[in-house]
Amino acid sequence: MSTNQSTLGQLIAALGLDTDNEWPHVVRERLVAYGLLGLYVFVIWFPIYFIFITSIKPSGAVLDIPISFLPTQPTVSNYVEIFQNRPFELYTLNSLIVASTTTLICVTLGTVTGYSFSRYDFVGNKALLLSIVGARMIPPIALIVPFFTIMSNPPLIGGLTGSLYDTRIALILTYTFFNLPFAVWIMKNYFDGVPESLDEQARIDGCSRWEGFVKIILPMAKPGIAATAILAFIFSWNEFVFALVLTSSEQAQTLPIAVSLFVADDFVDWAHLAAGGMIAALPGILFGLFFQQYIVSGLTQGAVKE
């Protein structure tokens, strides 16, 4: 009993809970909260940890029973082999180009469109906004056939001919279609939170509408832009189904497809799949970490006094 008490005491101290100054029920509630959060973090990270462990096991040791959860004979051979045996650098390049171009388009158009929806009161703006966002509510799978048809036989616009099938452009257009509505929605809501008196002050200070937007409003919108960028990038980076249907060779295939290629009809190359999975996961995580620093509250703090 006394050991239990002291273990609990150590745990409480380690979590920084101040039993002298807090009510006992507050300490108990915090312990429960920590427990639940810990469980949540475990559920999120365990699969990633397991893939990592698998990716550094020798190929033959992957399916050993009992399963080892700790690296016993760590090796980087899986990583080396996937780049040697497959054009993984091409897949990575494709993913980078597709995801960053999509992100750039979505952020640019989403910001401008969101600002317009937030500031301009034009006929049918609510209906138009709903229809833009509503289009995104259709399950993507329902649009696979139309997208495949369009990309294979694009309508002739200004002399543009030929099929977009198995090109990065096809993926960029498709991912923009899916992400732009969210980008518009997020940015519109973000701009709604920026007081209009700042636009007006900019106009009085001598800015045109566009100058005021670029010089005053946009710098304040960094958190919204970061959120939009993260969503668009991670969606495009991870997307699998459309990439599978719209591409067929390494000139356009992205990392998720590359990883899936380790699954053959009667054999799964788990070790290489895990290494490929880690490669595929890493840039997304880095991108997210980089941009989340901009998602800080209070960037507009001090602008106006409520």
Partner: protein
């Protein structure tokens, strides 16, 4: 410096008429306050002058120019917003510089002007901080500073003090007064706070329903309201209105029949009120012009019962029921010792009476009353 002139100015939003044909002359170097309840059109009027809204009809002149079709930045105005609208990502210095930079002002002039304004407003220490690091009062100063550096023809201020706490508001009010004395820039100031209006203005325009009800020097408007709206809006507690029927007493003098009580109309109003005999007339009397009759003279007193006693320090406000069942407020000397349910006799200061037409709300005695005050 410039005078501002509004001619028959109209602004409609969809089916709402926010500004309904107002005409106003704002003299050069004046401090003109637009005051009125919320929704009266005062802020819209200011925004029309600023060029943030386009007039539906009418004319706005700044100096000798009609500016209706000019953009905000072409109008040589600076505006202070109610919420200050400081750029949060810029420092105080950058906030103040921005307008000048946009107007391609030379660097040495920018530096001089910012330094001058910062000194004037005592915000030199704050120049490298961002708005979020400033207190409300400091933000307010920066907003003023940003307007001052522009050295505009007209300052437009939209309730600039309403977000400050009471003590700071009084302090900033005094500073605004001082600032206007030093700069003498034509200022148009919007507020719903009548104390602010009275203390700051050298010309006050009382607005209601998109229209100007009365324009004039603050004390003149306060003492000589042209209608019941102005009379009731200015002053706290507001003017008392007692309605009765105008008739004559046994001596043939004008008398207002208030029901169970009567009120003798001073002789100087006889000419103006003659035509209203037999009709309903409203008597207006400010609380501070009512006193308790303690010397026992019976003429011109109104018996009442004390309902509420509110000591406010410099005065005590009484809420009383007249015998006629009308409720009236009186602001009396704080040393007055009365309690709830006390019976008292009220005496109305006969130099401070107003009479109104209950139908139109217009003052019936405006001319006599204002002349009287001029001669007095």
């Amino acid at each position: 410096m410039a005078h501002v002139e509004l001619n028959e100015l109209v602004k409609e939003f969809d089916d709402v008429t926010a500004v309904d044909g107002i005409s106003l002359d704002i003299p050069d170097e004046s401090f003109t306050v637009l005051v009125g309840p919320s929704g009266c059109g005062k802020t819209t009027t200011l925004r029309l002058i600023a060029g943030l809204e386009r007039a539906t009809d009418g004319e706005i002149r700044i100096g000798d120019e009609v500016v209706n079709d000019q953009r905000a930045y072409e109008r040589d105005i600076a505006m202070v917003f109610q919420n200050y609208a400081l750029y949060p990502h810029k420092t105080v210095r950058e906030n103040m510089r921005f307008g000048l930079e946009q107007h391609d002002t030379a660097e040495d002039i920018i530096q001089d002007r910012v330094a001058e304004a910062a000194e004037l407003l005592q915000i030199e220490e704050l120049l490298e901080r961002r708005p979020a690091e400033l207190s409300g009062g400091q933000q307010q100063r920066v907003a003023l500073g940003r307007a001052i550096v522009r050295d505009p023809a007209v300052f437009l201020m939209d309730e600039p003090l309403s977000n400050l706490d009471a003590k700071l508001r009084v302090q900033m009010r005094a500073e605004l007064n001082k600032l206007h004395d030093e700069l003498s820039t034509t200022t148009v100031y919007v507020t719903h706070d009548q104390v602010e209006a009275m203390t700051l203005a050298d010309q006050i325009a009382v607005m209601d329903n998109g229209q100007i009800q009365q324009v004039g020097a603050p004390t003149h408007v306060y003492s000589n309201p042209q209608n019941m709206f102005v009379a009731g809006f200015l002053g706290s507690p507001s003017m008392n209105f007692l309605e009765g029927t105008l008739g004559r007493d046994s001596d043939g003098k004008l008398q207002l029949d208030l029901g169970t009580d009567t009120h003798d109309v001073p002789a100087e109003f006889a000419d103006e009120l003659e035509g209203y005999i037999g009709e309903r007339v409203v008597l207006g009397i400010r609380p501070e012009n009512i006193s308790l009759n303690q010397d026992g003279i019976a003429a011109n007193v109104h018996p009442a019962t004390v309902q509420v006693v509110e000591p406010q320090g410099e005065k005590t406000v009484l809420e009383l029921d007249l015998d006629t069942d009308q409720t009236i407020k009186a602001a009396v000397d704080p040393d007055t010792t009365v309690e709830m349910d006390d019976s008292v006799n009220l005496r109305f200061d006969r130099d401070s009476l107003q009479y109104f037409d209950p139908q139109t709300g217009e003052s019936l005695t405006y001319e006599t009353a204002s002349e009287q005050k001029v001669t007095a």
